[in-house]
């Protein structure tokens, strides 16, 4: 699949934003590390919303005909893309309510504040899941049609969100051990899920072949001619292929930048609180996640490639 930068940025940025928001709410409810003040919760939540909005705007940039984007809310009952749109928009009023109530910190409204925050957190989780399901629901792409995809999206979003929250906690001068533990847990979970994913997609399993695609199952089938002189929409969108050696190098980068280095550096942040170091780790992990998302698209092979000569996808 062609790795479109707008979609890569969208999934990484809004995933991190939703992950940050959900973990911020949990940290606020549990008063982790002594608890963030109302203003700090509001400021951090606003940062999460910025990441989400930047991602959503980027996703609109991916559309070839964005003037009809508003119609994407209409097929909620069948389309995961529509569901993602609906849930992400439904998230905003609750999230805003939570941030405003946190800012003003009225004790009489504490129950309402926690209730709207809880609703927003639930919607954040459902939205990340829906993003993953857009890809996981496609039977045409074996590398995507697996429950590991929404699981990966949830783990990655929370891992990057947890690192951001750690930077925030360092800035707010809270006890960092609980925040570092959460970040470490999600980084380990994300790395394990990603490792299982890479292991899983390496074997084709019982997938479609050029024989089932053409119906000539009793003999070998070979493409003689694709019937077009230059490329087509199909070759542009689905023909992209990444060299195996290059993919392997990128996977090493994903694990080193996305998981291993952040984990190693977590220890030093917990010992010596620093906003700069926290932000550095977050930036590094996000870079790793961009590489991970690029590979997610580049390694996906659509079955239409069978008609263009691939023996198996």
């Amino acid at each position: 699949m062609h790795p479109a930068f707008s979609v890569i940025f969208f999934t990484v940025s809004s995933g991190a934003g939703f992950g940050l928001f959900a973990l911020l709410y949990l940290a606020d409810v549990l008063k982790l590390g002594g608890g963030l003040s109302g203003e700090q919760v509001a400021a951090t939540g606003a940062m999460a919303l910025c990441f989400i909005i930047a991602g959503l705007l980027s996703s609109v940039a991916h559309l070839a005909n964005p003037k009809n984007a508003w119609r994407a809310f209409s097929r909620f009952r069948t389309s995961w893309l529509s569901r993602e749109g609906v849930f992400s928009v439904a998230f905003f009023p609750f999230a805003f309510g939570y941030l405003v109530l946190s800012w003003f910190a009225a004790p009489s409204l504490e129950v309402a504040r926690l209730a709207v925050g809880g609703a927003a957190t639930l919607l954040a989780w459902i939205t990340i899941f829906s993003t993953g399901m857009i890809y996981a629901s496609l039977k045409t792409i074996r590398q995507w049609n697996t429950p590991l995809v929404p699981a990966n999206y949830l783990a990655m979003g929370h891992a990057s969100g947890a690192l951001m929250l750690l930077a925030v906690a360092a800035w707010a001068g809270l006890a960092l051990l609980p925040f570092a533990s959460i970040a470490a847990s999600f980084l380990i979970l994300g790395a394990l899920l990603k490792a299982i994913y890479y292991f899983w997609i390496a074997e084709p399993g019982a997938s479609a072949s050029i024989q089932t695609a053409t119906g000539f199952t009793r003999a070998q089938v070979k493409l003689l001619d694709t019937g077009h002189t230059h490329g087509t929409f199909l070759t542009e969108e689905f023909g992209f292929q990444v060299a195996r050696r290059y993919a392997l190098a990128l996977k090493v980068f994903v694990f080193v930048a996305g998981f291993i280095l952040p984990l190693v550096m977590l220890g030093s942040v917990a010992g010596q609180p620093s906003l700069l170091l926290g932000s550095l780790i977050t930036g590094l992990a996000l870079l790793g996640l961009v590489a991970e998302r690029w590979l997610f698209f580049a390694e996906a092979r659509h079955v239409v490639n069978l008609y263009h000569g691939s023996q198996r996808c």
Binding site: N68, S79, F216, Q220, V221, G231, F233
Partner: protein, 231 residues
């Protein structure tokens, strides 16, 4: 009613006439235009509803060339319609034709990702998805003579390798042919239940060309001429 095409791989000669006729008709049809990019340039490309590929089945010398036209299969369980977030893609209840409402499409490409047959192509100029309409602007046109009310790819095929009809009706000509010739669907394992059917090449005995018996007068005259004329 479940309208669709039946494609005879036994007689398709791979001339691309169906693709060209499709392009000609539909570039001024309901989802027009079918934009071309650099039509006279170094990298010609553009939107087509029908593409023909060519395969070799078996290993030489025991192999056969198969010409393979593909367009929208108008699936019964059309995933492209399910995934469409705007409702632009829809399947008509009355005849099963899958269409894209050009006024609603936002060009997200998700339907093309969901289609295993490569039937949908984005038009970069309009920013909308386009696909085979089964010539919906011909098959119901009361102004056309009744024999012309079929998709233009079917009309133009010089080898009669394409048939159009109702595959829901067990007694229709297409259903009969599919039964007799053991027609099949492409990639049935994905479960989209494509309506279009493909007829496999027939196992015809080769026509003998040697030991044809006593040569006639014409053959004898030819062989005499061959002896006289030095080649």
């Amino acid at each position: 009613m479940r309208l669709g095409l039946v494609i005879d791989l036994d007689v398709c000669v791979g001339c691309h006439a169906c693709a060209v006729a499709c392009k000609q008709w539909n570039t001024s049809g309901t989802t027009a235009p079918l934009t071309d990019y650099q039509p006279y340039g170094a990298e010609p490309s553009g939107v087509w509803f029908n593409r023909i590929r060519h395969y070799e089945v078996g290993e030489y010398p025991n192999s056969k060339t198969i010409n393979f036209p593909m367009s929208c299969m108008h699936c019964e369980d059309a995933a492209c319609v399910t995934v469409c977030p705007t409702g632009a893609s829809y399947k008509r209840a009355e005849d099963g034709i899958v269409l894209v409402d050009q006024d609603k499409c936002m060009g997200c490409n998700l339907c093309s990702w969901a289609c295993p047959y490569g039937a949908r192509e984005l038009d970069r100029e309009s920013g909308t998805m386009k696909k085979c309409t089964l010539c919906i602007d011909r098959i119901y046109d009361q102004n056309l003579p009744i024999e012309d009310r079929q998709p233009v790819c079917v009309m133009v095929c010089p080898a009669h390798a394409r048939m159009f009809g109702d595959l829901d009706d067990p007694d229709s000509a297409v259903s009969l042919t599919v039964r007799e010739r053991e027609g099949y669907q492409l990639m049935p394992e994905l479960g989209y239940k494509p309506t279009n059917q493909y007829l496999p090449p027939r196992k015809a005995k080769p026509i003998p060309t040697e030991n044809m018996g006593k040569p006639g007068f014409k053959e004898r005259l030819k062989s005499l001429a061959n002896k006289i004329v030095k080649r």
